[in-house]
Amino acid sequence: MVKSAVLTGEYFMTGDVACAEGALAAGCRFFGGYPITPATEIAERMAQRLVDIDGTFIQMEDEIAAVASILGASWGGVKSMTATSGPGFSLMMENIGLGIITETPCVIVNVQRAGPSTGLPTQGAQGDMMQAKWGSHGDYEIIALAPSSPQEFFYQTIEAFNLSEKYRLPVLIMSDEIVGHMSEKVIIPAADEIKIVSRLGPKGRKDLFKLYAPGPGGISPMPAAGDGYNFHVTGLTHDEKGYPAMNVDTHAQMMSRLTGKIKNNLDDIIRTDSYKLDDAEFAIISYGVSSRTSMAAVDMARDLGIKAGFLRLITVWPFPDDQIRALAGDVKGMVTVEINLGQIHREILRCVEGRVPVHLVGHSGGTIIPPEDVVKMLKEAF
């Protein structure tokens, strides 16, 4: 058996396996999971691999417990993750909120399938995108990435850990069944070529320590249980010390820290990519597996003389409002491509504010969108 966390080399791998390898390369040493199609392979790979590298795998009794366990492990000082799909993602919402309010780094992967409810368990969709943003109660900001290939799933998992450690929150990877189960070439670089970010620990006198006092970049340094700080962590509204404080002012201060750390760092967090967008008259906007549809559609449209270009959202949350707004000034129309009935589409409409027409190419899930549908929309709508 291999004993290395980073399996440097070239492989033919599924997205799910590449995700697990990315997690290990990022330093993840705890996985608390629950089986669910089409994410199970991530748990299986972690169960196989963590024992070799001094990590721990546990299959919990449900997805509520899975997230509780990874939050506990994170406060134990270990990078932790879980992976699921729609029905499990619904159960995870409760403790995602706890992770947000307690500022606990961890990574949660959703390999999306078509819902609602049990839906189409073995067939892909992108229908949980709004749930990723709003699924847990209360206001909050979240970070969510969307990979379009196994190779990108590998890198995004590392990136998700780095962002979660840097900004101290659960980071979501919104993949889908198609990327999760597709096999492609995955190159795993040498360990020293992988950039890894780890949470900052506190310094200074332990008796004066305040759990949520702002540190470098406004982010509070995070101790681990057992370090001697005797800290208190609560899901109640809390002050800088981490103590419950049931009043409007403390709540507003806490919320401004929780949302501010994302809103004030959009340039550092948001990642987009483009394809033939510079001279485009029509922009296709998409993410995750539907990026592949969109890339193909750009080339097919250009063959027909339609000047199409593509903006790919690598991070979907926080939403790249500014980029979409700017794009609305540069093109004559837009098309959103996503495997749902128009979730990110609404965000685009919100940012475009009616300045150009925006059309949706989407369906309720179960299969990839053919590029022909996008070309047809470009031809007919504009």
Binding site: V51, I58, E61, A65, A66, G72, A73, E94, G97
Partner: protein, 282 residues
């Protein structure tokens, strides 16, 4: 010899001072509530253990008992409703040097958190679970719990309770707990000893403590705080090693207290190391 007014006026230090977040006092518990007594028993056991206090962590769920984590000067976690045990599971597995105590109430641990309880016991997770059983949801104002007796009135069972309560030690035993005991908050010395014993055992330890909620149970059921304590004194029988199946709570008949289970069985971590890790090393 000079008269020193400072010394004269100085109150003696509370023996548990080092373990309490004095800056969080006063606590929220009502006068006459039993939680505080169980809490100080627990802290006394922690102190008496002689173990490094920095290696203790307390995890609570939601409810009146769940506030304990907010008053203890240890690394402490006040989590979501019912989820203290799976949180504690992750914490313990991330750092097996920690002594992880779950301190919570019956509603939290056995209704919304019941599934987590039985699975942690089955796995023999090396944690100590202390359950303050006051037979009611106290914090939300006195609703029926999974422990409420048939005879009791609650705000959601205004005509009496149609459901049967859990026998918690039986549930713990059947699920695989390796240490199971029941006391009342009146039996402070036994309880403190028992918590100390549970802390020293590896594996899943469970202690149920019967405790009054005079405000949201006693008031509605015409039981004054002193009457409840009297009942704890007079209508209980200490019977160590009693058959867990006999432990249904019936104060008319007499409630059995004591240590019922104290055995050795490999913990999750021991099994994981032995079964999973060593196989890989062959």
């Amino acid at each position: 010899m000079r008269y020193n007014s400072d010394n004269f006026m100085k109150k003696p230090e509370h023996p548990l001072n080092g373990l309490i977040r004095k800056d969080r006092i006063p606590h929220i518990w009502c006068s006459g509530c039993g939680i505080g007594t169980v809490f100080s028993s627990c802290l006394t056991s922690i102190k008496n253990s002689g173990l490094d206090l920095n290696k203790f962590a307390m995890v609570s769920g939601i409810g009146c008992s769940g506030r304990a984590a907010g008053y203890v000067k240890l690394d402490s976690f006040h989590t979501t409703h019912g989820r203290a045990i799976p949180f504690a599971t992750g914490l313990k597995l991330a750092n097996t040097d920690l002594n992880v105590i779950v301190f919570s109430g019956d509603g939290d641990l056995f209704a919304i958190g019941g599934n987590h309880f039985i699975h942690a016991a089955r796995r023999n997770m090396d944690i100590t679970v202390i359950c303050v059983n006051n037979f009611i949801y106290g914090m939300t104002g006195g609703q029926v719990a999974a422990t409420t007796p048939h005879s009791a009135i609650s705000t959601t069972t205004p005509f009496g309770n149609p459901e049967s309560p859990f026998n918690l030690p039986l549930l713990a035993y059947a699920s695989g707990a390796t240490y199971v005991a029941r006391w009342t908050m009146l039996h402070v010395r036994d309880l403190t000893e028992s918590i100390g014993e549970a802390l020293s055992r590896k594996g899943f330890s469970f202690i149920e403590i019967l405790s009054p909620c005079p405000i949201n149970y006693g008031r509605r059921n015409k039981k004054l705080p002193m009457e409840i304590l009297k009942m704890y004194q007079e209508n209980t029988i200490i019977k160590n090693n009693a058959d867990p199946a006999e432990l249904d709570i019936d104060f008319e008949r007499g409630v059995i207290l004591g240590k019922f289970i104290d055995k050795d069985r490999p913990t999750y971590t021991e099994n994981y190391d032995k079964i999973c890790r060593s196989t890989q090393n062959v």
